[in-house]
Assembly symmetry: C2
Homo-oligomer: 166 residues x 2
Amino acid sequence: MPTDDFFADVLAANEAYVARFDRAGLTGRAAKGLAVLTCIDSRIDPLAALGLVAGDAKILRNAGARVTDDVLRTLVLASHLLGVDRVMVMAHTDCRMVGESDARVHEAIRASGGPDTRSILFQVTSDPEGTLAEDVQRIRSSPYLEGLRVGGFLYDVETGRLTRRC
Amino acid sequence: MPTDDFFADVLAANEAYVARFDRAGLTGRAAKGLAVLTCIDSRIDPLAALGLVAGDAKILRNAGARVTDDVLRTLVLASHLLGVDRVMVMAHTDCRMVGESDARVHEAIRASGGPDTRSILFQVTSDPEGTLAEDVQRIRSSPYLEGLRVGGFLYDVETGRLTRRC
């Protein structure tokens, strides 16, 4: 195994977690029947924000909480095999994926010394409410996800408050 | 706004979270320079397992902790604009995405009363160690992610212990 120490801090913290671990015996099914799709944003702790503990819910996260093909693949598994019957799509305030355009993000990466990323579709949106509604609909319209309850929510990173949007 | 009550329990829990919220003023940058890709499995609380708090790290989650195009898109943003310089790919024991084949999962969904999902690539693996190594390499080899430190880890859902694998 690699012996670099780039991850020594989190591995040491994990030792302390193991010492007080009390979650043995849970199964892979979501006890509360819930899946939550949210953004990777470091300010969001979805379990804490929703009063959940390990065992309760499936958490999906990507840049912007977007309903990509990867998310649909994941929700099909979660709903048919892992006990999920309701889904929250949870966008948030001050998201880096909300802005003028992908072009501006490509420029920002170049300006920071990064590579030319223009072959990548980042899926930046200038209309976060409209995008959230479209993403929720993308789940509702999937022929593989009939019967799932789906809601669109906005999380405020300054207050911790979650608001239903669609 | 919808007035159904499918999400009343988590919205009520969120009210309590807001009342004690103490994370105002954080930015979207990952304070510990860390991104963690893990599975949606309900037994994994990645922040707690790694001794992290809101603000520290970007968390990415999909079925199987697989390095999909959606994950690469997300890591490019995280590394060039949001302060990430190291990535943990964190598979886990007892994962529904480890098994004989996609075909068996399609059969299981049909057997549970679900639809014919054979047009979907679930990316089930029968060799989780090999798949983890390939997924780690997929990040290391990306021309958009040069300089990122990447490690592959296995999380034991029965003990909470994280082990470096590659």
